[in-house]
Structures are given as structure tokens and as C-alpha cells.
């Protein structure tokens, strides 16, 4: 178990026990979203697809007694710096928790525990003979794919990146990628292909080399379900980063249960996911996600 060194590709990194206070070092706009950074003084470098539970040190509780619980966030980038590991998170203010996190200012305290959960696995482990990766992101869900793309690049594994957004206000995070390599889609046509990111995936999959890659996706449930079905229909292996209402992040509350394939009960997304293979689940339409 590693607690300080950079992890191997796709390795599940174990978290220090308990939560720890980090200093927020940056909070900048990124399209309609924000990217905020915290310096983790005591944690290991996470793997892509892992997540942290986040809560502001002050003002967590708000006027209405919410937010109360910590919020689960996939890590969008992570780099060792002097004094710890810099963790980047992508946030869109939609509720009391995300609104408070989006308003964090440099110098404020941020409680974290993590890294948690099962990360993306290397293409060769997802599918026999897979040499490359196709990354499909939608909306705020582009975050874990940014770190995954960097890690794949570091390992010399080619990755194609397809990102989709609803409209200008609901888009961002492109700063986390190298823009020259990305194909974009937007439902309102403000950038890239007018339509869904899964349209781009469909075109790509019609090419003759799609079978040599593994698909990795994160985004809204309807997008993930479309990706899951497209991959299943074409026999392409995929991993999906899901979300579900989650109170603890480490298997204690049993809240983030989603049905496993075959109708044989549930898995906990926090410890058995959040990254799952497409064939492990019944559907990506997870009840309650987004709240």
C-alpha cells in the first residue's frame, strides 16, 4: 500500500485514516464551472477516477443547516508540489454544497478524506489487447477524465478525448485538457458538433480500429447509459465513472447502492466503484444522482 509515492497506472490508492484540513490555494473560473485547488499535506497521489469527500472548514452548515454532509468529488488533477499534493476539483454551483465549495477562497480551510474508491483500470486490463483509450465526458463529468488523460499520456498510452456540453453556461473544464486533442459537442451548437457527445463516439466506433481500445466515460446518467449500450452492442469494453447520493465515501452508510447486473442485489459505489465496467451494472440510470 502506497502512502506517498506516485501510484502505478490504475492502482487503487489507500487513503490515510480520518479527515484532514487542507488549505485552498486557488479558485478560478473555467467556462461556466470553477476549478479550485487544495494542498493536501499528508495524502498520497490519487489514481484517476478516485474521489475525495470535501467540506469547507467554515460556513458548512449555512443558513438552513445545509450542507451538513461532506460532498464526493472526483479529482480532476493531482500533482506533487512542495508541501504536499495539489488536488484540483471541478465544480458547478447547483446546490448548497457545491455553492459553498464554488465560493471557496484561497487561504480557506477544506476538510478532505480520500483518495477513495476504485479508479480507472489500464486499457489492457479492461479488454484483452486494448492498446488505446477513448475518453467520453459530459458536463461536469469531464473532471476525472482530465486526470486519466494525463496519466495515460505519462504511461505512453494513446487516448482520444470526446467531450460534450449542454450549452455555454453548462460547460467548462477544458483548461484541464490539452485542447488540440479534443473533439467537442454541444447541444446548442455553441461549440463543436451540434448534438450529443455520443454522436461523436458513434462515428469513432464505426472506424476499423475502435475495437482495439477501451472506452472510459463520465457524465450525466443518460449519457453514461447511452455509452454503456453502444459499447455493449458493439462488443467494446467500457468503464463508467458513476455517482449516487453518498454520505460517507468509505462504505459505512450503505447509501450509494446501485443494482448489479443480473438482478442479484446491489453494489456500493464508494467502495466497489465509482468506476465500474459496463457489464457489471444493470443500468447507468442511477436513481437520485445529481442531488
Amino acid at each position: 500500500m502506497k502512502t506517498g509515492a506516485a501510484s502505478g497506472l490504475g492502482e487503487r490508492v489507500v487513503a490515510p485514516f480520518g479527515r484532514r484540513l487542507c488549505e485552498v490555494t486557488r479558485n478560478v473560473p473555467s467556462g461556466g464551472y470553477r476549478i479550485f485547488s487544495a494542498l493536501d499535506p499528508a495524502g498520497p497521489e490519487p489514481s484517476a477516477g478516485q474521489f475525495y469527500m470535501l467540506a469547507a472548514d467554515s460556513g458548512w452548515g449555512g443558513d438552513q443547516g445545509r450542507p451538513y454532509l461532506a460532498r464526493a468529488f472526483s479529482v480532476a488533477d493531482a500533482e506533487p508540489e512542495s508541501g504536499g499534493v495539489r488536488l484540483d476539483f471541478l465544480v458547478q454551483a447547483v446546490g448548497p454544497g457545491t455553492s459553498r465549495l464554488a465560493a471557496l477562497e484561497p487561504g480557506e480551510g477544506l476538510w478532505i478524506h480520500g483518495p477513495l474508491g476504485r479508479p480507472f483500470a489500464a486499457p489492457g486490463e479492461v479488454a484483452d489487447g486494448a492498446a488505446g483509450a477513448i475518453l467520453v465526458g459530459g458536463g461536469i463529468g469531464v473532471a476525472p477524465l482530465a486526470l486519466w488523460r494525463r496519466r495515460l499520456q505519462r504511461a505512453g498510452i494513446p487516448a482520444r478525448v470526446l467531450l460534450g456540453f449542454r450549452d455555454q453556461a453548462n460547460s467548462g473544464g477544458l483548461d484541464l485538457f490539452d485542447c488540440s486533442e479534443i473533439r467537442l459537442a454541444s447541444e446548442d451548437g455553441h461549440t463543436g458538433h451540434r448534438g450529443y457527445v455520443t454522436d461523436l463516439l458513434g462515428v469513432l466506433m464505426e472506424g476499423d480500429d475502435a475495437g482495439s481500445g477501451a472506452v472510459y466515460a463520465c457524465g450525466p446518467p443518460a449519457m453514461l447509459e447511452a455509452v454503456r449500450v453502444m459499447c455493449a452492442d458493439r462488443g467494446v469494453a467500457c468503464e463508467l465513472a458513476l455517482e449516487a447520493p453518498m454520505a460517507c465515501g468509505f462504505g459505512a452508510c450503505f447509501g450509494c447502492a446501485i443494482p448489479i447486473a443480473g438482478g442479484d442485489g446491489y453494489m456500493r459505489l464508494c467502495v466497489d466503484g465509482p468506476v465500474v465496467r459496463g457489464d457489471e451494472i444493470e443500468t447507468a440510470l442511477v436513481p437520485g444522482s445529481g442531488h
Binding site: G18, P67, Y68, P245, A252, F254, G288
Partner: protein, 290 residues
């Protein structure tokens, strides 16, 4: 050190059943969990005779200073627990309390037989928040049912029996008294308060299970009142829980008459909350006695 039913504990802070999965936590945190274990005893998730998948999602809803859950007691069943979970839980550095729930005296007997005979188990907690299939009455809501259950299963084991009381009745005292008279060695309270959340978009109930249970600081004052009332009425030791977040909260539970304090929802916010609360509690108690 604190003594509870002839078990010596390092400090008075344990976990509430179903609020900490030590096996999953070890996957997340590795052996640091064992080195820094936050509780002085570990209470398992509730075991039922047969495996249960639990309730359909969504299972959670955040409230002001609280959380509604509708989990539905997912567990591997008695045989699965004994084979897969007990060996791992016995590696924890603290005494193990196993929570069990049946729907009849026969089911409870089978559970108490199966778990109570194991050396790894220090005590049992009886989850009595479900109906007796024969009478239709919820055991924890009926003094007669609670008394008769304890009389039936007390002779089956030498291990201490803790009865987990429900707060969802007008007065928990008669059930507590009846359980103690039936042979309960301790009582624990409160369980979650029955609660419902509405889906803001659909205008219907949010949780997959329909109703759920409220926990967190939102219920602490209710818990304190019930602990105080039960402590006035019974002489068996009390495990108090309900929204305990700080050492001061824990100290108030002890002053209300509890022997131990259990932490639940706060562990979701900080996995090591039990250690922090125990340390703060030590400070609170020495400040009073000093």
C-alpha cells in the same frame, strides 16, 4: 477504562450499529484503520437469518443538520456473516458486539445460538425495530413483546444482551423497563426517528423504501430526553446515541445517565470522529471533576 457488562473498554465511545463497516473501511484506509481504530468496541451491522439485498435506491436524503436513510438492513445472513465477516471483524483491536434481528422468537433464537456461541463475540445487540410475524406487533414498541422475547432468548447465551430501543413511540420507558425485567443486560437508544423526504421535482416521496430514519444533530435533543427518561427508570447500563458530534455532546449523554456513547452519522463526515470525540470527552470530564 470503563466497564460495560463486565467488558473492559478503553473509553466510553463506540459506534452505532449500521454506521461503520469496518471491513469496507479497511479497504479504503488499509491497516491504518486497525492502528487508529476510533471506537472502544465495534458494533456490527444488523445480521438477519437470511441474506438481504436492502432497499432500492435512492437511500439517502440530507436534511438541515441531519440525514434520512432508508437502507433496509442489507447483510449476508447468519451463515454468510459467520463465514465471511466474523473472521475479518475478529481482527479488530476491540471487543465485538454483533447486532441481530429476527421476526420471531425462533429466528432470534437461531441468531443468538449462532452468534452467541462464538468466542470472537463479546456481546449481542437485539434490533427489535421489526414486527413479530405472529403478533404483528413491533417488538420494540410493545413492553409485552419485548419482555417475552428477552425471557425466551436470555437462557440461550451467557453473552450480554443489549436491547436497541426505538424512539418512534410516545414513551420508551415502559419498553426499557420490560426488557430489563426480561433479562436485558443493557439498553441502547435512540434508533433513528421515522422520517420522509419529498422529491422536489416529482412531488412524491424521494426514498426508494418510502419512509426512512432521521439521524444526526437534528435528533440530539430528542435522544438526550429519552436517554434521561430511561436512565431514571432502569438500573441496567445505557448506550446513548443520537446526533453526538462533539465531546460535549457525549458528556451530556453521560450526565443524562448513559454508561457508553455511540457515534453514528458524524463518522460519515469524519471516519476518525470516534477518536476525536473520545479525546474531547476526556477533556470535558476532567474539567468537571477537576
Amino acid at each position: 477504562m470503563v466497564e460495560f457488562c463486565n467488558i473492559e473498554l478503553r473509553h466510553p465511545v463506540i459506534n452505532g450499529s449500521g454506521t461503520f463497516d469496518a471491513i469496507a473501511a479497511r479497504r479504503a484506509f488499509g491497516d491504518a484503520l486497525l492502528d487508529e481504530f476510533p471506537f472502544s468496541a465495534f458494533v456490527s451491522k444488523t445480521i438477519t437469518p437470511e441474506p438481504r439485498a436492502g432497499n432500492p435506491p435512492p437511500r439517502l436524503w440530507e436534511t438541515p443538520s441531519g440525514l434520512i436513510n432508508s437502507i433496509g438492513l442489507p447483510n449476508k445472513g447468519l451463515d454468510g456473516f459467520l463465514e465471511h465477516d466474523l473472521p475479518q471483524l475478529s481482527e479488530l483491536p476491540v471487543p465485538l458486539i454483533v447486532s441481530v434481528m429476527g421476526t420471531s422468537h425462533e429466528e432470534f433464537s437461531r441468531l443468538v445460538d449462532g452468534v452467541g456461541g462464538r468466542d470472537e463475540v463479546a456481546a449481542l445487540e437485539l434490533n427489535v425495530s421489526c414486527p413479530n410475524v405472529k403478533s404483528g406487533l413491533i417488538v420494540g414498541e410493545s413492553p409485552e413483546e419485548a419482555n417475552s422475547l428477552l425471557r425466551a432468548i436470555k437462557p440461550l447465551t451467557d453473552k450480554p444482551l443489549i436491547v436497541k430501543l426505538t424512539p418512534n413511540i410516545a414513551d420508551p420507558v415502559p419498553v426499557a423497563v420490560a426488557a430489563a425485567e426480561g433479562g436485558a443486560d443493557a439498553v441502547s437508544l435512540i434508533n433513528t426517528l421515522r422520517a420522509v423526504a419529498f422529491d422536489p421535482e416529482k412531488g412524491d416521496r424521494w426514498l426508494g423504501g418510502g419512509t426512512g430514519g432521521l439521524s444526526g444533530p437534528a435528533v440530539r435533543a430528542v435522544a438526550l430526553a429519552q436517554v434521561h427518561a430511561v436512565a431514571e427508570a432502569v438500573s441496567v447500563p445505557i448506550v446513548a446515541m443520537g446526533g453526538v458530534t462533539t465531546g460535549r455532546d457525549a458528556a451530556e449523554m453521560l450526565r443524562a445517565g448513559a454508561r457508553l456513547v455511540a457515534v453514528g452519522t458524524e463518522s460519515f463526515r469524519d471516519p476518525a470522529a470516534g477518536s476525536r470525540i473520545a479525546a474531547e470527552l476526556g477533556g470535558e470530564l476532567s474539567a468537571i471533576s477537576g
